[in-house]
Amino acid sequence: MAVPVSQMYTVTKYVLTQKLRGVKRYPLVLMLEPLFRCNLACAGCGKIQYPDHVLDKRLTPEQCWAAADECGAPIISIPGGEPLIHPEMPEIVRGLVARQKYVYLCTNAILLERKLDEYQASKFLTFSVHMDGLKDEHDLAVCRDGVYDVAVKAIKAALKRGHRVTTNTTLFDDANPERVRKFFDEMMALGVEGMMISPGYSYQKAPDQQHFLKRSRTTELFSKILSNRKRGWQFNQSPLFLEFLMGRREYQCTPWGNPTYNVFGWQRPCYLLQEGYASSFRELMEKTAWDSYGTGRNEKCADCMVHCGYEASAVEDTFGSLSGFAKTVKITLLPNAR
């Protein structure tokens, strides 16, 4: 099983509680970005393009904990920038774990091995290592040779110390399905708990429609990758989200499912679009024109199928209907069943 039972139980209980309370919009995963500074400069990365004085800003541990408390989501993903650069990251993580939040610390793993001593293994903490494919593809994507090997070494070291480790992978239209399947084999052979995958999508500032995965191309690509999948592959994602990527289910975006908090505040409406910032989570939820976003509603969202918008839609489907729940159970047990 890709996710511990305790985590599944926590998420299930949380979602059902929201439903029983009649809460229409609830966050599932808080995307907490404590800094934008990174030790890589991947070509075209939309998160690191700021003046130095902005890149030097960091959220304090207190700000991070307050955001977690304010938001209430059971899962906290910490992307960046590179979170391991943040000198107070171990303290931030300790505080979140003390709150019994399931933390996914997203890292390129360059610093991971040397920082492992600063983190205590816990069922609440997972290192989510950014891996965009096999060595050639990954090193090209991050614009530096040798990063794949460093990451693999760090993954092994983390696993040896009893840490939970997953991978996260973004695929673009140049992805080779056979190479991606081989990559899955390699990651599972390393012993990672599960893998997360998502199609890449442009930031609003720069939608190059020539290269971004159109919806039809996305479903074609993911069908080739995920059809007839090997039983050993574990995905740290909703089974229905994978069905969505394969074009087998249709969802509308759930942008409030993955709210983002960073040095600018609460980002409207989602991780990918910057339409402005709210000063509180409540203001974000109450004063964002949610119905203006999503495929068919906003040209910026036309071809988006990214996890931050649609994973929560898949979870909502699982718990929103008996058929969705039954389908989830069926795919979990028989991933290749139609």
Partner: protein, 129 residues
């Protein structure tokens, strides 16, 4: 998950331009451009002063629309009412210019290697590698 790998084809950067709006609509337009800009801007105030910083937010509705900046020097944020803005100059380097995936791939190997080396050296100097 990682960010988008592909960005828009290069377009003319706003770096170096100055907008001196003559109407509220023009002001709103200039502020939207500044909000999208990935470098510092210098806001000239009607009071005669000026502030240079990163414009990270704007609230265009309500009784008193405002912009919010991280000043380039000092800490904290600064909130400025629309009504106080006389001009906006795009004075900082546009950090998004030339950073597209296509631009990176199109570079000669030697240029790319130099860029990689420079980024690596900067990260090492900060103690991030």
């Amino acid at each position: 998950m990682t960010d988008a790998k592909y960005h828009a084809p290069e377009q003319g950067s706003l770096a170096g331009r100055v907008f001196r709006p003559a109407s509220l609509d023009e002001l709103r337009e200039a502020i939207e451009l500044a909000f999208d800009y990935r470098g510092d801007v210098t806001v000239e105030l009607k009071s005669g002063g000026q502030v240079t910083g990163y414009l990270f937010n704007r609230t265009a509705t309500g009784e008193q629309p405002t912009i919010e900046l991280f000043p380039a020097t000092g800490s904290g944020t600064m909130t400025i009412p629309f009504s106080e803005v006389a001009a906006i100059a795009f004075t900082g380097e546009d950090t998004a210019t030339g950073k597209s995936w296509e631009a990176w791939v199109a570079k000669k190997d030697s240029e790319r290697q130099r860029e990689v080396d420079r980024v690596e050296a900067e990260a090492k100097a900060r103690g991030h590698l």
